[in-house]
Symmetry: C2
Subunit: 368 residues, 2 copies
Amino acid sequence: MTLDDLPTPCLVLDRPVLLRNIAAMAETAARHGVPLRPHLKTAKSIEVARLALAGQPGGITVSTLAEAEYFLGCGLTDILYAVAITPQKLDLAAALNGAGADIMVVTDDADMAGMIAAHPVALRTLIEIDTGEGRSGVDPEDRRLLEIAAMLGARRAGVMTHAGHSYAASGVEAIRAIAEAERAGVVRAAERLRQAGHPAPVVSLGSSPTLRHAASLAGVSEVRAGVYMFGDLFQAQLGTHGIDDIAVTVLASVIGSDRVGGRLVLDAGALALSKDRSTAGAPKDYGYGLVLDLQGRRSLGDAVIGRAYQEHGVVTPDPAWKLPALAVGTRLRIAPNHCCLTAAAHDRYHVTDGGEEVVAIWTRLNGW
Amino acid sequence: MTLDDLPTPCLVLDRPVLLRNIAAMAETAARHGVPLRPHLKTAKSIEVARLALAGQPGGITVSTLAEAEYFLGCGLTDILYAVAITPQKLDLAAALNGAGADIMVVTDDADMAGMIAAHPVALRTLIEIDTGEGRSGVDPEDRRLLEIAAMLGARRAGVMTHAGHSYAASGVEAIRAIAEAERAGVVRAAERLRQAGHPAPVVSLGSSPTLRHAASLAGVSEVRAGVYMFGDLFQAQLGTHGIDDIAVTVLASVIGSDRVGGRLVLDAGALALSKDRSTAGAPKDYGYGLVLDLQGRRSLGDAVIGRAYQEHGVVTPDPAWKLPALAVGTRLRIAPNHCCLTAAAHDRYHVTDGGEEVVAIWTRLNGW
C-alpha cells in the first residue's frame, strides 16, 4: 500500500523523522543526566510510546485518564497524570492502581489534597508549581505549598511544573531564561518541602522548548516533553527543531482546481487540520498549514491553507511561486501548525519510512 | 444518571432546545413550500437525523463518505455527498449505491465530470455553483457550467450551491441579500442548463443563516442546513437564533481554583472545545466559549474560556461580575463558538430533557 491508496484526509507519520526527533531529545536528557518521562498527549499511540521510551526508565506522562487506561492496557504502569485531578476522578485513578498501575496524580489545591489523602487507595501525588506560565500551580514561595503538603501527608511524592509560556517566547535566549526559571522554581519548591520535613523525591519539569535549550537541569529528578516527537510549524519557528523535522502531516486530495484562475481546494479543512492558528503570532504565518507535495517536499513554495471550512481547505499560493496546474485527485500533504491538535482529529497514523510506501498503521487513542 | 455522574469533559445535548431548533427550520422550509434535506455534518448522529427528518421526504446531506456509509447503515438511502468528489472516491460512492444507497455526488470540474460519466455505476451528480462565497463551484454565467454538464451527459441531476459567506455577514439585511443572491444564482444556473437541453430537476441551496432569513426560495427544489439544529455563540450573534437556543454544551469540572486570586481552571481545553475563534470577529468575543453553570444558566455573567491549552481551559471572569468561590470538582458547562467543531471532538451526546438527568446517550460518527 502506498500513500496513493489511502482515503483522504488522513495522517501520515514519517518514522525516520520521528526517530531523529526522539534521539535528539534522549540525547538532551542524557547530557543532563536526567531521565525522560515522555508525554504521550501528542502521540497517544503505544508504538510511538515504545520508541520514545528506548533507553529511558519506562515512566510516562499522560493528559487524560483515558490515556492512562490505554497505556496501562499496553503494559506501561508508571504513569504521571499531569492534569490536576478532581474528586470525581479519584476513584478511576485508584481503580487503575488496583489494575496494576502506579499512578501519580497532580493537584494545586489543599482541599483536593485532603481528599487524596483520605482516599482508601494510596496515590502518589505531585504538587503543581507555577514557574511563570500563570495557568495552574502554586508559586514556589506561596504559603499554600506547605499547606497542600501537610494535607497530603504520607502520600506526597514531590513537585512538578510546566513552563508552557516557553511557547510564547521570542528567541532561544528567551527560552533559555524561561528554562532556568522553570528549573529554579520547581527546585526551590522542593527545597521548601524538604525544609518542612517532606522528602519530595520527585522534582519533575518540562516542555519541549525549555528542555531543548536548558543550560542546567541541576536538582531535577525527571523531565517531561511530548511535542518534540512530531514537531510542527510553530515549534520550528521557536528554534525547537528544523522545519524538516516535522514528522506528521495530513495527506489530502485536490477536490477543486481552477487551472485558469489558480484556485485550489483540498479535502483537508478545519476538522482534519484543526483551527489552531498558533503561527498567526509567529514570524511566519502559515495559515492553517503549509502545503507540501506528495513526497513531503516544499515544491509549492510557501503555499498555505489560507481558509479552512469544515471539510474544505482553500490554498493561498506563495506570491513568489506559480501554483502548478493540479488535477482533481492530486495528492498533497499539509504540515500542521500544532501537531497535538491536528493529530487529535485522526484515529490512526499511516507510517512511512520517508517514501510513499505505507509500512505500518498505528492506531491512536482520542477522547476522555 | 445525572450530569454529576459523567466523566468530564463531555458533550451535553439539550433535547427540548434541539427540538425547538428543528421545528423552527421545518416551519421555515414549509413556509416556502420547499423540502429540507438536513445536513448531518454537524450532528453526525442517527438519533438527531431522525428528529430532523420528521415531516421531510427523507433525503439527507453529508460531508464525508464515512457519514454516507454510517447513515446508509441506519437505513437512510437518499444521500447528497456535498463535498466535491475525487476520482479515488468514486468507487466507494459507487459501492454504497451497490449497497442500497442512492448517492448524489458533486463536482465543479469538467475532467472529474467525465470520470463520473465513464464510471460503470451511475451516480446522480450535482454541479456546484459559486453564488458569492468564492470557495468552490463555478459562476452561474461561466461557460464551464455547460462544459461540465456536457461531460456528465445522462448522469447530470442538477445544481447545488452554499452561500457560506452568509456567516461573515453583518446584520439580517446583509444575510437576506446573500440569500437572494444564493437563490438567484443557482436558479440561473439551472435555467442555463435547461436552455441547453439538460433537465436539471435538482436545484439545491442552503446555509442556516440564509434559510432563516430568505425572502423567497422560488425555483429551488430543496434546501440544506445543519448548524441550526445545535446553534452556537457565533450563530446567535448572526441573528440565526437566540443565545438560549444553543442545544449543545461541554460539561467540564473545575480543576484549579484560587479562591483568593480569582483564578479558575477547567478540564475543558482546546481538544474538548476546539480552537475555533469565530466569535473573535463577532460583536461579542466569547474567547473559546461562554461559561454556564451546571444547569446551563448564565449565573457567571459573561465569564468565558479566555485561554485554551490542550486539556486546560482558563476562565476569564466577566469584569462586571464577581466570580463565585468554586471548589475543585464543581461542574460547569461551556457554550461553544462553533458547534460543528466542538461536537467533532466527542464521540457521544449525553442527552437531557433540560434538567440534570441524562435521559439517553447518542453516539456520533467522527473521522473519514
